[in-house]
Symmetry: C2
Subunit: 337 residues, 2 copies
DNA sequence: TCCAAATATGGGAACATTCCCGCAAATTGG
DNA sequence: CCAATTTGCGGGAATGTTCCCATATTTGGA
């Protein structure tokens, strides 16, 4: 299939030079006569020579590639974070290999294999909701390949992480609901295997405590983020003999689906039940009613994560700290509360 | 930074074998004693040996990687198409390198460089709205690297393409508006450098003709897809002495923004002005009013494109046809019309 | 004018792997 | 029981590049 690739040897032969000289001319080394360099560059252009990164990477042991593993592409969160990461990566001369784990542990493990085989210089990871064992990620640590977590982080690994203050965001969202006079606030939580679910739950609890609202265990439902199940849980909540007057959802897709279910039952948002989400997805301002939510600086998270990763790649082995960057959230109050 | 990588030579030495034998054992070659293979496999596992794809690719001239270049990540279209493409690619043993050109020609050119340097086995491309010169893509053809276009295709290159029937979708959308009694239907078109803009415009014109509605040049505005400008154009249309009673937008983000502008002026959708979009983005069903739009089988488009590409990679050079897969659209009628 | 230093180039190892070729030992068949 | 085949393994080239070391040429200062 492939025909012969133009190599530096072809250029060398044509110009009666050695491959060493051509290599030097091409990489912008000093100690090569301007005329020679000029000739090499011109011929390279003419033959449209492309440097073979495989060979270069093989010898330099550096691929200038970073891997990104994210659980899904359905919400606008990860695409946006990836844009941010790619931005700083490409500015630093890195290309990116993106894998999507589809929220399953096995795919995530497979993805890490791809990354290792491709000899990435470092990886950015946001784990799946299923991931409880981290051996596949610890391999990178062991091999000295930098790793940075963002959003969904691994607590038991001592590496840099970029997160938002989930506790605080959650606290403010729930406080807001209480200030609007809501007394029975339900929480549709994520799986507790994810640290963010736990933190958002804690923020929720703290807000209740702070405002002397009784905590009712029955009003907290942890679910697996499978959006189809929201219907069941929301209906369950609405069918309680003492139903909630507000629902704080762990993320925006959940909140949006919650609103749909409530509307379908003929109840009004926010009059009958207020709804608040988390993340400020692109959609959230456009739906009816517009969703009150906790905005995250998503693109900045991606940027920060990539920057942390590249810093780590450029540092000497051992010379880095497990910095945890915590970015601020912002409560966006809209019609749904 | 990097410490020594475990290679087949390490394994060979440890077991007093040659690297050839280890290679054979690892690649599942026949003619290697079961005991030997077992020993190799076990030691490889123990040392957590990872095959170096760089070296393998260098020698086999195949990277098992396909490149995907898309213009943007903002709408749900491209992420969804990528999911589809990745699905069939990874099933076929290919990983993907994704680049986003940010709707600028220069970035697209840079992206193709990355793809060439990374020796991808083939690329999937959807061009930017700016791309008028295709030399950077023709290089792939010249080098015998398969290329498949999807969505935003290049007309002057004779390669496989995956598109939807834009003309037909547009025709049906506009026919629907006419059937609902609309007489003055405006069209917010995309840049004519994109084939899809042209086709959607043609479908629009054809529908008018078919139903004997006069074509009014002033009701068609072509714009550069910069969403911030929608406001200007929609206001311009509404300020006309004989304003439109419907707006057919070239895509959903445009339609959604159009609705926002109309609502902000105190007009009602669809009572005063009906709006129809194109693509059925994830958001479109959730906004108020829910958007009538032409649904595309986005994931299937990605799948089809990847399949076409992989077929082409696996074929002998020269043995392929410039198939154009045209997928069907579906008109989704919602509240906005 | 001559030697040292700078400049310019070449040669070859190295990177990790595959794959072809060759050779020995083991197995088979008549 | 010996030739023929099969099985199992090793050696070494090749992939495209960088980089170190060596060598040749030019330059400059005393």
């Amino acid at each position: 299939m492939k025909r012969h690739q133009v190599t530096i040897i072809d250029i060398a032969k044509e110009l009666n030079l050695s491959k060493s000289t051509v290599s030097r001319a091409l990489t912008g080394h000093k100690s090569v006569k301007p005329d020679t360099r000029q000739a090499v560059l011109e011929l390279a252009e003419k033959l449209d020579y492309q440097r073979n990164m495989l060979a270069i990477s093989l010898i330099t042991k550096k691929t200038n590639t970073i891997g990104i593993i994210v659980p899904e592409f359905h919400s606008s969160y990860f695409p946006k974070a990836i844009i941010g990461a790619q931005e700083v990566a490409s500015k630093a001369g890195y290309s990116t290999v993106i894998c999507q784990s589809d929220e399953t542990y096995e795919t995530e493990v497979a993805n890490t294999r791809v990354m290792l085989a491709n000899q990435v210089d470092g990886i950015l990871v946001s784990i799946t909701k299923e991931t409880k064992n981290f051996d596949h990620l610890k391999i990178f640590q062991r091999k000295g390949i930098p790793i940075v977590f963002f959003n969904r982080v691994c607590d038991e690994m001592d590496v840099p992480k970029v997160i938002v203050d989930d506790y605080d965001g959650s606290f403010r969202a729930v406080s807001h609901l209480i200030e609007r006079g809501r007394k029975r606030i339900a929480h549709l939580a994520g799986p507790y295997s994810l640290k963010i679910s736990e933190k958002r739950l804690n923020g929720y609890k703290a807000a209740l405590r702070k405002h002397n609202v009784a905590f009712d265990e029955d009003l907290v439902i942890s679910y697996d983020l499978n959006i189809d199940k929201v219907k069941i849980y929301v209906n369950h909540l609405l069918n309680m003999e003492n139903p909630p007057d507000a629902i704080f959802a762990v993320n925006d897709p959940t909140a949006i689906e919650t609103i749909q279910v409530i509307k379908k039952r003929g109840l009004r948002v926010p009059e009958d039940i207020a709804v608040v989400g988390f993340s400020n997805d692109f959609v959230s301002g456009l739906i009816d009613p517009a969703l009150t939510t906790v905005a995250q600086p998503v693109k900045e998270i991606g940027q920060a994560a990539a920057q942390l990763l590249i810093d780590q790649i450029n540092r000497e082995v051992g010379d880095w700290k497990a910095i945890i960057r915590v970015l601020k959230t912002e409560l966006i109050i809209r019609k749904s509360s």
